[in-house]
């Protein structure tokens, strides 16, 4: 079994385990659904990623020298995206165009850094994307 296939298999196994434990905790722990929801969402993301990448890539490597070069190029400019975003947020708040609380500003920053950074070439299913989805699932659960 190639390394790519093996990694996708691990993702699928982790996904199944997380979904199962999420469902069990939702059913067994009455009243508290946050942990169960987080496990369920994260598990589904792992599952979808594992299956879709396996179908898409098969035996071919996930990355090679070209994709690594693109990633490195993107990462070298990621700080600039962050800087422009922070700059925009500051002036929007300062000029009272948008009233941002600390929580919203931080949440938007997390979203930007974990999903929309140029270095993240495969955003929706990457590690950063997973972190982002987990963050939003927790955030949504907390907001009720």
């Amino acid at each position: 079994m190639t390394r790519t296939k093996q990694r996708n298999l691990y993702r699928i196994i982790i996904g199944v385990l997380m979904v199962a434990s999420g469902l069990v905790s939702i059913i067994l722990i009455t009243g508290e659904t946050v942990i169960g929801s987080i496990l369920l969402v994260a598990g589904l993301i792992f599952l979808i990623r594992g299956i879709s990448w396996h179908l898409r890539d098969g035996d071919s490597p996930e990355s090679d020298e070209r994709s690594k070069k693109i990633g490195a190029y993107g990462l070298s400019y990621a700080w600039l995206t962050g800087l422009f975003f922070m700059f925009g947020l500051f002036w929007l708040d300062y000029l009272n165009i948008v009233r941002l609380g600390t929580q919203v500003a931080l949440a938007l920053s997390i979203m930007l850094f974990s999903r929309f950074q140029p270095g993240c070439t495969r955003c929706t299913c990457s590690g950063e994307g997973m972190l982002n989805n987990m963050f939003w699932s927790v955030y949504a659960c907390r907001q009720g």
Binding site: D59, S60, D64
Partner: protein
Amino acid sequence: MQTRIKEYRSRLSLTQEDLARKVGVRRETIVFLEQGKYNPSLRLAHDIARALHARIDDLFIFEVEPEPESPEHREILVD
């Protein structure tokens, strides 16, 4: 940069997928290489040349403008 990867690959009846697997890269990289849109590392160029039973300079053609000959250079050539 121009490449003759496609020509050599066709001679060996290899698909882009086959060549990509042989040299350990994604198929997209072979596509970009064949279109001359990607400069490979020396290692990858070497691996591709080996896989296609060719030399690196047979596969990759760089268009270099001829340098104007300096008097010193001419002297060296004459010697």
